[in-house]
């Protein structure tokens, strides 16, 4: 209780804390929504890959002095195209192609950073986030990305839903399924950049997958899954920032651990899917039937 009041008071006192909390909440919502498509399409590994692969784009953007977002989107989409090209034009399977391309891009980024000794790019901050350094400007760009991402999803909702659920029918009625795939990759790159400061490149995949997975365990309707996923993403960020502030631990990692804990609860206790709930139901029914 004391901690809560302390957090509440600090929140009014320090703008950096306000920024951190708001940025975390926005990132939780954006990642949560995009993540639903990522997990239902079986693209969790791809999500991890794209988020890592934006690194060289971000570094180049920083050195040359243009926007992070452009650099990240170019690097992300190029990697996605490269993965598709390798998988379709050789006997190398998807997951191997993903492994090759994203580690290559990531390593390239690290080499580029370490070449620039002493310039402002801090590898640690890009990899693990630096939520205390979120400025008002960062907040606005995150909000901008959020609006773009959500607008894309609302506009192409039917395309995304049908091509995720039944790609063959989507193709058969003439939907451009390849374009939809690359649109999603583009959104993934954008989302990664928006999460750069809060959770960092390494852990952003958790924000993409875990809230969506929690939601998937709790509902049978896709729109509800999107809402719940956004909600759990946001909740994880709030609790994570709180824990990080009170106990003075890394913010991104706290956010991710909160999401993981929520997943564990849903995994055990979800009314329909929960492992414990199903076990208990079978057990009690058995007792009722056979004494």
């Amino acid at each position: 209780m004391e901690n809560l009041t302390f957090f509440w008071e600090s929140l009014f006192k320090y703008q950096y804390l306000q920024n951190a909390l708001l940025a975390g909440m926005l990132v939780g919502i954006i990642c949560g929504v995009v993540g639903c498509f990522v997990i239902l399409r079986g693209l969790a590994l791809m999500g991890d890959a794209i988020s890592h692969a934006v690194l060289p784009g971000v570094v180049v953007a920083y050195l040359v002095g243009f926007s992070f977002f452009i650099g990240a989107v170019i690097a992300g989409v190029l990697t996605a195209l490269g993965i598709g090209y390798i998988a379709q034009n050789s006997r190398i399977k998807d997951d191997a192609a993903i492994g090759i391309m994203f580690t290559a891009a990531f390593a390239l980024g690290i080499v580029m950073i370490t070449l620039q000794h002493g310039t402002g790019v801090d590898l640690w901050h890009i990899l693990f986030g630096n939520v205390l350094a979120v400025s008002r400007d960062d907040l606005w760009t995150t909000l901008g990305i959020g609006v773009i991402v959500l607008a894309c999803i609302v506009t192409f909702y039917k395309h995304l839903l049908l091509s995720t659920f039944d790609a063959t029918m989507a193709q058969a009625i003439g939907m451009p399924t390849k374009m939809i795939h690359y649109l999603l990759m583009l959104l993934l790159s954008l989302v990664t950049v928006s999460a750069l400061k809060t959770v960092g490149i390494i852990l952003v995949v958790a924000m993409l997958i875990t809230p969506g997975a929690i939601a998937h365990l709790l509902t049978d309707r896709f729109p509800a899954m999107l809402w719940l996923s956004a909600l759990f993403g946001m909740l994880s960020s709030i609790v994570g920032v709180y824990i990080s502030y009170i106990y003075d631990v890394a913010t991104g990692a706290s956010i991710v651990l909160v999401a993981s804990a929520l997943f564990a609860i849903a995994f055990l206790l979800s009314p329909k899917q929960g492992v414990f709930v199903r076990w208990a139901r079978a057990h009690v029914l058995h007792k009722v039937k056979y004494g």
């Binding site: 239902l40 659920f165 039944d166 058969a172 009625i173 049978d220």
Partner: protein
Amino acid sequence: MNTEAVLEVRELSVSYHRERTLENVSFLVAPGQLVGIIGPNGAGKSTLLKAILGLLPPNQGQVTVWQQPVAKMRKRIAYVPQHNDIDTDFPVCVWDVVMMGRFPHSGLFRRSRHKNHLKVAECLRQAGMYAWRNRQIGELSGGQRQRVFLARALAQEAGLLLLDEPFAGIDLNSERIIINILRGLKSQGKTALIVFHDLTKAQAYFDSLMLLNKKLVAFGSSTKVLTAQNLQAAYEGDVTVLSGTDELMVVTA
């Protein structure tokens, strides 16, 4: 060019994973017909459906639907996928799936919500699945799920339906409902191509049969197609003719 035909396939050859799965297949389908596609495993039955839909690029040959290239006619063709192509854990309920059949018709701003709603309800009732409309699709039996996907195809209001093994592994009640729906479509002048495997029922269910084994072995009325000679050609060694002239055959494929 035949002006009557709903579907015209000319000298179609398709390779899939570098293997030739269809070779020089040509046929015409008249309107108001139920066509059963039969043949051994790997005969290219599913490939044929996908090639007609334009999902697999042909090595050569042409497909026209109502004398037009398929790309222009997509809204008038409905496809029912093989049941194991579907992720049954996906968070959609029966109603949502059938509503997907309305996607080709609902433009962004068209005031079609009410009409779509009525159509989905009607198609669900036809398939006997209205009472199940709020169930998640993983909670259904195989036959019920197949009826839901047929209801989705009905909701598309297509003139040509392509069904990939709709009768595989389903209960008798579902089978009866599905064949009745197909007959209803036929009486409205619609056409359906159905991949099928039960030779004993093929004659009763379809107006014409297509016997396929990479090449088109035979196409026409069931009496013309289901001869010992044709079946032996299609199923190769796996047919035993039990009594010569009365044509009692066992296919062991």
